[in-house]
């Protein structure tokens, strides 16, 4: 797991309080609205997302950048590759 700081994002998807499998459905939808190379920030309080989202990126061909632990949630960063 790669922890990062100061990652800028082009869009934020707030999934706090929403549970499995929403974290595997909404990032793909939201990425559709971004251009290649842009970064999506995902906010979640669901522990399972820490494994699921990197795995989803690998499977769907997107780049998983890393995780930042915030006060009340995790912030996960994805770069749109395709």
């Amino acid at each position: 797991m790669k922890f990062i700081e100061n990652q800028k994002a082009d869009d934020t998807l707030d999934l706090v309080f929403r549970m499995c499998p929403i974290h595997l459905l909404e990032p793909g939808e939201r990425l559709e609205g971004l251009k290649r190379g842009q970064v999506l920030e995902i906010l979640t309080d669901y522990d399972g997302a820490l494994e699921d989202i990197p795995a989803w990126c690998a499977k769907s061909g997107q780049e998983f950048i890393g995780i930042k632990e915030d006060n009340d949630c995790y912030k996960l960063y994805i770069r749109k590759v395709k």
Binding site: V16, F17, R18, P21, I22, E26
Partner: protein, 399 residues
């Protein structure tokens, strides 16, 4: 006259409304022909899912929202619960005060009281004699520990419409989320969530001519809500449970009809309301209008009639085919003095004589004539039996 020939003047639409013909017609295919689960990944499900999203857009359009800001619920009461509990749990223990008006629906009052058991402080904002909440008073009451303010748009017992924009602005200035229960106003008063500047707004199907069992909550984008019903992916994870597709289709169709007919409908209801109010105040001595004279729901007329027991009045009117209520449908069975009327400062004895007419577009001036044919006689008969009415006047003036 045989019962089957009895003239019916149904004027208790705040309690229940018939489903509109086009609404029922739109719903029917979704009970059998198009029954598939919208969450499925085959074409039958996709088609139903698309229809659900079309209805979401129609409901959003009625209130000036974006479709993704609408969550379908089972009722206005569930929408109120989700607004209050969902917001408070999303900021759990970060702020521990909830402010509601003293005349809210039970689904708001009791949701707020639920948090008293979790060591929250609930403040019940008083109202004036017309049922209005004062924005200045709210401003003085707000503090940094306030987690949510909930004040209804229109009151279904006294008909008063609150100054929501002003109240919401006070909350916005203090960074406190603001919720309004618009169940009483939806479809008869123009609602634009951005103009009103609210964060959350509840509505339900029946006032629009949709069936019971369907409602919706508007939540402003980026508002966090803890779900009350955890489940799958329905409502984007904010409310579990397979969608009530026929109900959702009914709500969407009713919202579409309301959008196109609201002005005409409001004008018709206002004419009926004003005729009824003028007649009752002229022909029934010692009858008083409750709520605000101008700032009131178009189809709502409510009175307190001295030396009358509301339940007896309702019963006797129903024998003449006139169906009205003493207050809110769920509270009137409790045979308790209405907390709403008490909050307006109406003496308990006078509050016993509460009668509420809630009109719909199917009502006519002929219905008002029917009421005025029977109401004075029924009031006279009840007063003749009353120990607090003598020689054409109350024993002691209680107004």
């Amino acid at each position: 006259m045989k019962d089957s020939q009895k003239k019916i003047a149904y004027m208790d639409h705040a309690a229940a409304t018939p489903v509109k013909g086009p609404v029922l017609k739109a719903m029917l295919p979704y009970f059998d022909r198009d029954f598939a689960n919208p969450s499925t990944v085959y074409d039958l499900g996709f088609q139903v899912k698309r229809v659900v999203e079309e209805q979401r857009a129609k409901v959003a359009e009625l209130i000036g929202a974006d479709p993704e800001e609408i969550i379908f619920t089972s009722s206005g009461a569930e929408a109120n619960n989700l607004a209050i509990k969902g917001t408070i749990f999303s900021r759990f223990k970060k702020a521990k005060r909830i402010i509601v008006s003293a005349i809210e629906h039970h689904s708001v009052l009791n949701s707020a009281r639920f948090f008293e058991r979790l060591d929250y402080e609930v403040t019940f904002l008083p109202v004036d004699k017309y049922g209005l909440v004062d924005p200045e008073r709210l401003k003085k009451t707000l503090d940094q520990d306030t987690a949510l303010v909930s004040i209804m748009h229109g009151n279904n017992e006294v008909g008063t419409i609150e100054p929501i924009r002003e109240l919401a602005t006070v909350c916005r200035e203090h960074g406190v989320p603001f919720h309004t229960d618009a169940v009483a106003t939806i479809g008869s008063v123009e609602i634009d969530v951005h103009e009103m500047d609210v964060d959350l707004l509840s509505l339900s199907g029946p006032p629009l001519g949709a069936p019971k069992g369907i409602g919706a909550l508007y939540f402003r984008k980026n508002t966090r809500l803890m779900p009350l019903i955890h489940g799958g992916i329905q409502e984007r994870g904010r409310r579990g449970g397979t969608e009530n597709v026929p109900g959702i289709v009914g709500l969407g169709k009713a919202a579409e009809l309301a959008k196109s007919s609201m002005k005409k409908r409001a004008a018709h209801l206002t004419q009926l309301r004003d005729t009824l109010i003028a007649n009752v105040l002229e022909k029934i001595p010692h009858a008083y209008l409750t709520g605000h004279r101008e700032r009131r729901l178009p189809g709502h007329a409510s009175f307190c009639i001295e030396a009358i027991e509301g339940e007896a009045l309702i019963f006797m009117l129903s024998r003449n085919g006139i169906y009205v209520n003493t207050g809110s449908a769920c509270a009137s069975k409790a045979l308790k003095t209405s907390p709403v009327l008490v909050a307006l400062g109406i003496p308990a004895a006078l509050a016993q004589g509460s009668v509420v007419f809630s009109l719909e577009e199917t009502n006519t001036l002929d219905d008002i004539d029917h009421v005025m044919k029977h109401l004075p006689t029924v009031v006279e008969r009840l007063r003749a039996m009353s120990p607090i009415w003598k020689n054409g006047a109350p024993v002691a003036n209680m107004a």
